[in-house]
């Protein structure tokens, strides 16, 4: 990535991005990858020759762009894998951070906190699979990027000339398109997981769900009945 930045003429940024990346690797700093990626993307977003340009078509495909996408993804994946291997694989269980609500719970379930374990082995096939997958995902992302950049806002949406530039409107259109794609993907993923979850649900889980549905539907009526019954029993002497 640094080489790419140097090659593109962002010499200072390339050097600046190297420092936190190296420090993150040495000191096993989990926040290093986001910072490095931010430092890489900042000059691209700020000093892009296309940023203020009014009206242009899709840029020509360049192998360097694909290389940057692949190297950034590879860096992110391998940096986090390194962090898992060298420092901790498991994040903290959030329940362990909670203060026990009652002294009786102390030293019982869910309280003793455990640091994550270290992953202590890497198989050769893992590295090969990682390289293949990174290449495939990067290539797919690059192709989709060109497809997105070829998109233009429909003619019906165009404002009178002078209010918004065609370029700006196209960008907004592409942003909306990507947002919809992401939201749709999220919804599809959630639906797939839900269906898969119900298919693999156990007996207790299914009974609990049905019971919860019944409770949700008749909660008010049941509450009134039960309150009267408890009240009457307590009034009788609470046997």
């Amino acid at each position: 990535m640094a080489l790419w930045l140097l090659g593109e003429g962002y010499t200072e940024w390339g050097l600046v991005a190297l420092a936190p990346g190296a420090a993150g690797l040495i000191f096993r700093w989990a926040l290093a990858p986001p910072i490095v990626l931010f430092l890489v993307s900042a000059p691209l977003a700020m000093f892009s020759p296309y940023r203020m340009m009014r009206g242009f078509g899709a840029p020509a495909p360049r192998a360097e762009d694909l290389l940057l996408a692949a190297s950034a993804l590879l860096y992110l994946v391998s940096a986090y894998r390194h962090y898992s291997l060298a420092r901790r694989a498991m994040p903290d269980d959030m329940r362990r951070r909670e203060k026990p609500s009652d002294p009786r719970v102390k030293a019982r379930w869910a309280v003793p906190g455990g640091r994550g374990a270290r992953a202590d082995r890497v198989e050769g096939s893992e590295v090969a699979w990682m390289l293949i997958l990174v290449a495939l995902v990067s290539l797919a992302a690059y192709v989709i990027t060109f497809r997105i950049q070829a998109e233009a806002a429909p003619a019906e949406l165009r404002f009178p000339e002078g209010r918004f530039s065609r370029n700006a409107l196209d960008r907004v259109w592409r942003g909306c398109l990507v947002a919809w794609i992401l939201a749709g993907g999220l919804a599809v993923g959630h639906a797939v997981l839900s269906v898969f979850g119900w298919l693999s649900a156990g007996k207790d889980e299914a009974r609990l769900y049905l019971q919860d549905q019944l409770w949700s539907a008749t909660r008010g009526e049941q509450r009134r009945i039960q309150r009267w019954m408890v009240w009457a029993r307590l009034r009788r002497g609470g046997a």
């Binding site: 989990a30 926040l31 986001p34 990626l37 931010f38 993307s41 691209l44 977003a45 360097e64 762009d65 996408a69 993804l73 992110l76 994946v77 986090y80 898992s84 498991m90 994040p91 269980d93 329940r95 026990p100 009652d102 009786r104 719970v105 030293a107 019982r108 379930w109 869910a110 455990g114 994550g116 374990a117 990174v134 995902v137 992302a141 690059y142 990027t145 997105i148 950049q149 370029n167 942003g175 990507v178 797939v192 997981l193 898969f196 979850g197 693999s200 156990g202 207790d204 889980e205 609990l208 019971q211 919860d212 409770w215 949700s216 509450r223 039960q226 309150r227 408890v230 307590l234 609470g238």
Partner: protein, 660 residues
Amino acid sequence: VLTARGWWALFVGVAMLFFGIASHVTALTATGLAITAWVSIEWLLFALRVRQIQRRARALRVVRDRRGPVTALCKGRRYTVEVRVEMDDWRLGQVLATDAVPFAVRHLGGSTRVDGPLGAGEVLSLSYDIECPQAGRARFEGLRIEATDLQGLCAHVTFLRAPVEMRVLPASQASRSGLPLIKKQNALPPPGTHRLRKAGTGTELLELRDYQPGDPPRTIAWKVSARRGKLMTRDFESEVPVRVVLFLDAGMAARSTCLADGVSGDESRGSFRLLDRLIDLAASALAAFSASRDLTGLVVFDEEGYREVRPGRGGAHTARLTRALSDAASLGPRARKADPEALLPVAHALAREVYPDLLRQEVNQTPWWLTWLVGHPGASRHPRGWQAWLDRRKRLLVTIGALLVPAGLTLAGLASFFLDLSDSARAWLLAALAVGIPASAALGWLTFTTALAAGGGRRRLFQARKQVSALLAVLLGLPAGALQRLLEDDDYLSEKLQQLLESHRVPYALPLLGPDGSYLLDGQPKARSLSRAHLRAVAAARDNELHVFLADLLGMEGGLGTVLGSIKVALARHHQVVVICPWPEGLPGPDSPRKPGEGVAGKLEELIHQRLSASFARLRRELSRLGVQALLSTSGEAIPALLEKAARLRASAPGPGGAR
């Protein structure tokens, strides 16, 4: 599912993607899209995999001692627990498996956690050593599984339930104390029998008497008959087995923790139970009597009744009695009127650990607005302060203050136009309404917001109550509608919570006092149970028997008269009775001097010591009048005294109560 790392990566990816689109930079857009796609794919695959853990993962557990695998544990012995975690087909990136060590055992060494990849052909194994400090039951619930992908972008914690319950049998201490377990003199009858001075079919001569028609010819004493010139018959002693019946107190007071941890806050002290000490004594007595081949029986009694094992002998019978002792040791305290809010945190912690998949919002949801509008439970016997009072009535208060009263006042104002009122009266009325309506509405809303502000803890408690109630309804197979009943009925919930905790062998402490200040562990029902069981044993007794009361009679002042009545009946039938009372560990004996306590806990201990000492003095006085020995579990003389009694019975020597 996404971890902090995952969220950061996703944030960076999405930000780069949109910055790339905004600035029309292909490299930036492609990089952002690649990172977003990678995190999304990882998330989807990981979520699909972890949902298969409950179905496809297996935990195989073996508990072994030096000789091999065991199916029951023994108190005080060391065991090795070996666990293997396997999974079919699917592969999880990285797994940390932690075995949940049961409460009934003590972890001695070895790691209870293991980590590594888990999938087809990949097995995680762990091994650790345990010791059982008390008899009862040890329940191995299963393993907590923490799974993550290779980069740590996604993580999931679940529990692989593989319950294995094992009895922890009590250990005898009599053999270690060097007490005589076999007969030392030839003059004594064979082990397991004693002589009864009543005509029978034994070998020892009881008396000579005149021959009576019908006497068997072989009993005629020919030499004596020749000397006396008339037929004489020999009567032999009756040789009968020694029967011992142990009456074990498994009442609520004995099951409860001694010196309740709610006072001292010291868990290690709070975990001590009088029942454990009684079980130890019973096991030692059982071992001693079994070694001398005496017929030994057991009666376990509590407030609800008693369970009886008739006297017998032999290995199978001893094993049966030992299992009965182990079952008695595993009983937890029960008090229906106990406040469920004291048990709810423990039960909720258990549910979160062992049943995290059944507490998910998808299957066990609590609408967020419900706790803001409705307070639970509607009626309770437990006073919980003004916050709970406000919380329960917040909806009613806001309805009255902000709706009904203003509406009523408005109607009154409108009605004044149709009534024959003077102008000045109408003006005063309208002025009063102009002030009263907003004041009432403001007061109603103020009360409502105060209830909300003060009831944050109660809202969280209700959420926990809802989740645990739903879980209870499913696990215990309760009927439809039980969920709402658990939410509204404190007594019902308390009963079911105790059932859940006891079935999972989770120790818990119950409050000793009820909502009206009454002592929840009243000894009267237990005394009645003991008396009934004792009278039944006396009625079923064949010969003179030894009845051993291993009972907490010190906390049974109200029912002592009932117990003394049955003891008198037993003594009248020439049985022998010994009473052994448990004494709290760490508390000096009744005759020992004690330094004045410091602080609240010290003062409380001092008061407990005074009360127990006075109770024991009274008990000893009452029993000594009947010639019955009263001993304490801590005195060290309990087992020797029992053996001495049995030996006296065996040799037919008269006991202190006049019994033989």
